[in-house]
């Protein structure tokens, strides 16, 4: 009889806690979004599955000795996984559109207002009982507005590791929702006439420009913001490998095999942070709400900046491409293109929108560096 009792006590059924069941359902929800709705499936599949694994009673996946525990501490706590992903993203990024039209960097800069405005919002939530966000927490939440998954995970692992699960889920969910969130905001801030603006064709960018560009960006980061060099440095390494033309094998590995392998582990590691006690609280709801606000403000400020530039510049910019200033490469650029085509079926904005889009990646890495430098101690 006693043996039967011991056997029963070692089953999952006897040890389930309510929170674990809810979190497993959250994991299943992420799997559903990834598989049925195709929302960021590359990350949400391992993340959702990681959430299920980490909540299995008795197995102890996220305790010392458990697989997910080591994945998290080896790759995310140290910041290695998001940085390797950033190298892969660098190897996939073509800065041609940005170099051909450098003033689109201003659009990428303006869209970062979403980050800093959300910082304010997160602090404001402290007025509601149940919320206690420190400046570090608020900074980590605000970076969701940068719409850049690896940057958000990197910063959250440094500033607020206990909020990492909720921040990563919010960041990737909203990135997947870009085609739904952005168009209404873009239309609200522009007139039909503005959406029809056609832009001049981009000039040809030579190879030497593309090779020197990542080195120049790195040099500037070294001089002015060393705190951002982990992110910017890895990004520039990936980009240099792509553009220099002598290490095609490395470039191909960084943007294919390596980034795929790291994505599996990154997803599992983030999933391990989706435990009941860390996720099932009112703060998560606050983070999800703030993430949507951050995205919306970033989109709006990019569009408004483009309109401001039109007031001072002879060469007109279609304000829709301002919305691509929130990184979310290349989804945000595609959305700008699509909304532009709705207004004028002959107006292809995709290449023009790639400029602010990759500027947004640089901008959010710089913003992350600023937050690390100012509140990271």
């Amino acid at each position: 009889m006693e043996q039967l009792n011991t056997l029963w006590m070692s089953t999952g059924l006897a040890n389930f806690e309510f929170g674990q069941i809810v979190m497993m359902l959250v994991g299943c929800g992420l799997l559903y979004l990834a598989i049925a709705k195709n929302f960021e499936p590359l990350l949400l599949v391992p993340m959702g599955f990681g959430a299920i694994l980490t909540n299995i009673p008795v197995a102890g996946f996220s305790e010392v000795g458990g697989l997910l525990h080591y994945i998290y501490y080896a790759g995310i706590d140290t910041g290695i996984f998001p940085l390797l992903i950033f190298m892969g993203v660098g190897a996939m990024t073509d800065f041609g559109a940005l170099i051909a039209n450098p003033k689109t960097l201003l659009l990428g800069a303006a869209a970062q207002f979403g980050i800093f405005a959300t910082l304010f919002g997160a602090i404001a939530l402290n007025a509601i009982p149940g919320f206690e966000f420190s400046l570090q927490d608020a900074s980590a939440i605000a970076i969701i507005g940068g719409a850049d998954g690896p940057t958000a995970i990197f910063l959250a692992s440094k500033l607020a590791p206990e909020l990492l699960g909720a921040i990563a889920v919010a960041a990737y969910s909203y990135m997947a929702l870009v085609p739904i969130i952005q168009p209404p905001i873009m239309k609200a801030f522009t007139t039909e006439e503005e959406r029809k603006i056609e832009m001049a064709q981009l000039r040809h960018v030579t190879k030497i420009e593309k090779v020197i560009f990542p080195l120049g960006v790195l040099m500037m980061t070294i001089f002015f913001l060393p705190a951002a060099t982990p992110l910017v440095g890895m990004f520039c390494l990936g980009n240099l490998m792509r553009e220099c033309g002598v290490v095609d094998r490395l470039s191909s590995t960084a943007q294919n095999e390596l980034i795929n392998i790291v994505t599996i582990f990154l997803g599992l590691g983030v999933g391990s942070k989706l435990s009941a006690n860390a996720f099932l609280n009112v703060e998560t709801l606050g983070i999800l709400a703030l993430g949507a606000v951050a995205f919306s403000i970033g989109t709006a400020s990019g569009v408004l900046m483009a309109k401001l530039m039109n007031k001072f510049s002879k060469e007109k910019v279609n304000p829709l491409i301002g919305a691509a200033g929130v990184s979310a490469v290349p989804m945000a650029a595609r959305v700008a293109n699509k909304v532009g085509l709705e207004a004028n079926p002959h107006n292809f904005l995709l290449m023009h929108a790639m400029g602010p889009n990759v500027a947004g990646v640089l901008g959010s890495a710089v913003a992350a560096g600023i937050l690390l430098a100012l509140v990271g101690q």
């Binding site: 800069a109 800093f116 910082l119 030579t206 190879k207 913001l225 640089l362 901008g363 710089v366 509140v375």
Partner: protein, 89 residues
Amino acid sequence: MENLTQLFIDAGKLMLAGMVFVFAFLGLLIIFINQVLVKLAIKFPDPVNQNSRKKAKVKTSEQDGVSPQIVAAISSAVSQYRQKHNNKE
């Protein structure tokens, strides 16, 4: 409450410093592109061979790019014309 006010002030300072820095950094990058990269591009243009090769490739791809439907339409029109022509004779 006082604590919250202090946090608000800190967040405000962070926002101001952050936005100024982001604009300054990316603004400097614009100057870098306009002053350094553009001059480099003029001094060291891409080798002409590559360009002509690329152009050649584009031309062939354009030729290849004629859709099979158009080719079919033209050839059927030609054969019809020939048939009519032959019938008249």
